[in-house]
């Protein structure tokens, strides 16, 4: 009769059930980090020419220099702004589109194959087009991010709605619930899992979009910094750009994980 507890000792029966102590997880992670970065640092300049792969210490030094002369924030803020604004617009637009289309009856059948056709287009190749349309400023980058993000958001919302428990909708109907009630009590909570999944996937997509668009044409941003460094044969600059992009991705991902923990408490 009592509520089930997950804390009781049990044999790890399935691959997801295993629980580890947080301390051993974090210690292991730190170990992997120190090992790879340490090997990189040690081997670079000894086993191979540090011109090709740079060196962690050089990258760290570069970041320090960039922070000092204001370059760091100048480029990072541009990329961050494009990625986040595009992510928000793309997520909202794609999710709303997914919800609307899955409740649109036969219209769904008409439109769905075309959406999938657009999705299969390598959207990276749209970057030159957006730059022709909007120039090398912010809007072409944001549009690129939206193009990268919107499909995953659409597809997840769409699938989420198809996976809503029919019994729950029937239950709401038998209580004579209006569609606003159904939306608030069943539809939105049901697809929250899906929206969060698409948000996590889309962090990477958004950064790809903004950096690609910057590579193709811009005068600011981490993508620009990478191409600029490349033209100077400055591998440390290229790696610095990559490290900073990774850093942004990790931080954004952690924020989404925190949101997930709050919103999916009931599981």
């Amino acid at each position: 009769m009592a509520a089930k507890s997950n804390k009781s000792a049990s044999y790890p029966s399935s691959f997801r059930q295993r629980e580890y102590k947080p301390s051993s997880v974090w210690l292991g992670r730190a170990g992997v980090f120190i090992l790879t970065v340490g090997l990189w640092e040690l081997l670079s300049g000894r086993a191979f020419n540090s011109f090709w792969l740079s060196k962690p210490s050089l990258i760290l030094k570069r970041i320090g220099e960039m922070a000092a002369d204001g370059d760091l924030w100048f480029h990072m803020s541009a990329t961050l702004q494009e990625a986040i604004v595009g992510l928000v617009i793309g997520m909202a637009g794609g999710t709303l589109l997914g919800v609307a289309i899955s409740f649109s009856g036969i219209f769904e059948k008409w439109i769905y194959p075309y959406i999938m056709a657009l999705y299969s287009l390598p959207r990276v190749s749209l970057a030159p087009l957006f730059i022709v349309w909007f120039g090398i400023g912010l809007s072409s980058k944001i549009l690129m991010v939206v193009a990268m993000v919107v499909f995953v958001a659409f597809y997840n919302a769409f699938e989420g709605i198809r996976n809503i428990d029919r019994d729950l909708m029937d239950m709401m109907s038998t209580y004579k619930a209006k569609w606003t009630h159904k939306l608030k009590w069943v539809v939105l909570p049901s697809i929250t899992v899906w929206i969060l999944t698409s948000l996590r996937l889309n962090i990477g997509m958004a950064l790809i979009g903004s950096v690609i668009a910057e590579l193709v044409g811009s005068n600011r941003g981490l993508g620009y910094y990478i191409t600029f460094s490349s033209s100077m044969l400055d591998t440390t600059g290229i790696f610095t750009g990559l490290v900073l992009i990774m850093l942004i991705a990790v931080v954004l991902e952690q924020i989404v994980l925190l949101m997930e923990r709050r919103l999916l408490r009931y599981r």
């Binding site: 009769m1 019994d167 038998t174 009931y266």
Partner: protein, 257 residues
């Protein structure tokens, strides 16, 4: 029986399904009346369309022929008078117990303070006082079932439609919850249309037991249960009248092969 005196009247009902291009007749020539305050159980082999019958009465499914009416008015869309208890509880996993119970009141537009008060009262009635802030996942199957019952009591319908509500529970919990439900029902005294495959459960609860045949489902036999109320849900099973009924109904069911 006259239609005028029945709460729920089903006449020559026929229901068809379109599945993979083939028409399947789920129900045919079903005639059934449920009087105000009467407890009617429908028993039959699985797949005989018992649940389909409930879907028609709850307005979720349109019949291919015949009529189903409540208070003399033909059912079109979900009627105001019915409340459904689903086989799998249909609780909202992202809402706490108290929020699940107050859901029908929220939809009705009852002020929030009253909602919470009434939901608390009903939780007490089903013996779940301390569990208001739990999520359904943290509860056992029997407790979830009681939350679902409390929610339906909150809606306070004139006809309770129950689709094998105690089906997935283990035997012991089944008896306990059945007993509790019977006690509460004897106080509210509303009509019930109860679907089950458990003959004993049907007799112990009902005023009348209806036996359905295998697909296409038809009503095969009806038995009045002349056992006194209030009944002891478990001990009534040792009453000779109960035993006789059980035998007769079983004979009807066994016929189906």
């Amino acid at each position: 029986m006259n239609d005028n005196e029945s709460k729920l009247a089903i006449r020559d009902l026929k229901v068809e399904y379109d599945a993979k291009g083939r028409r399947t007749v789920a129900l045919e020539q079903v005639n059934l009346n449920v009087k105000d305050g009467e407890f009617v159980s429908v028993v039959g082999p699985s797949g005989c369309g018992k649940s389909t019958l409930l879907k028609v009465v709850s307005g979720l499914l349109r019949p291919a022929g015949g009529t189903a009416s409540i208070d003399g008015k033909e059912i079109a869309g979900v009627p105001d008078q019915v409340g459904m208890v689903f086989q799998n509880d249909a609780l909202l996993p992202w809402k706490t117990v108290i929020d699940n119970v107050r859901l029908p009141l929220e939809i009705k537009g009852v002020p929030r303070k009253e909602q919470l008060h009434e939901a608390q009262r009903l939780l007490g009635m089903v013996g779940l006082e301390g569990f208001a802030s739990y999520y359904p996942k943290q509860l056992s199957g029997g407790m979830r079932k009681r939350v679902a019952l409390a929610r339906t009591f909150a809606y306070d319908p004139e006809i309770y439609l129950m689709d094998e509500p105690f089906g997935p529970l283990d035997a012991q919990t089944r008896v306990k919850i059945g007993e509790q439900f019977l006690k509460i029902w004897e106080q509210v005294g509303k009509s019930v249309l109860f679907i089950t495959h458990d003959i004993e459960e049907a007799i112990a609860l009902s005023d009348r037991v209806v036996v359905m045949s295998a697909r296409p489902g038809r009503i095969k036999a009806e038995f009045n249960v002349r056992l006194e109320r209030p009944r002891p849900f478990y001990d009534i099973r040792f009453d000779p009248l109960f035993k006789d009924l059980q035998k007769e109904i079983w004979a009807q069911m066994a016929d189906e092969g």
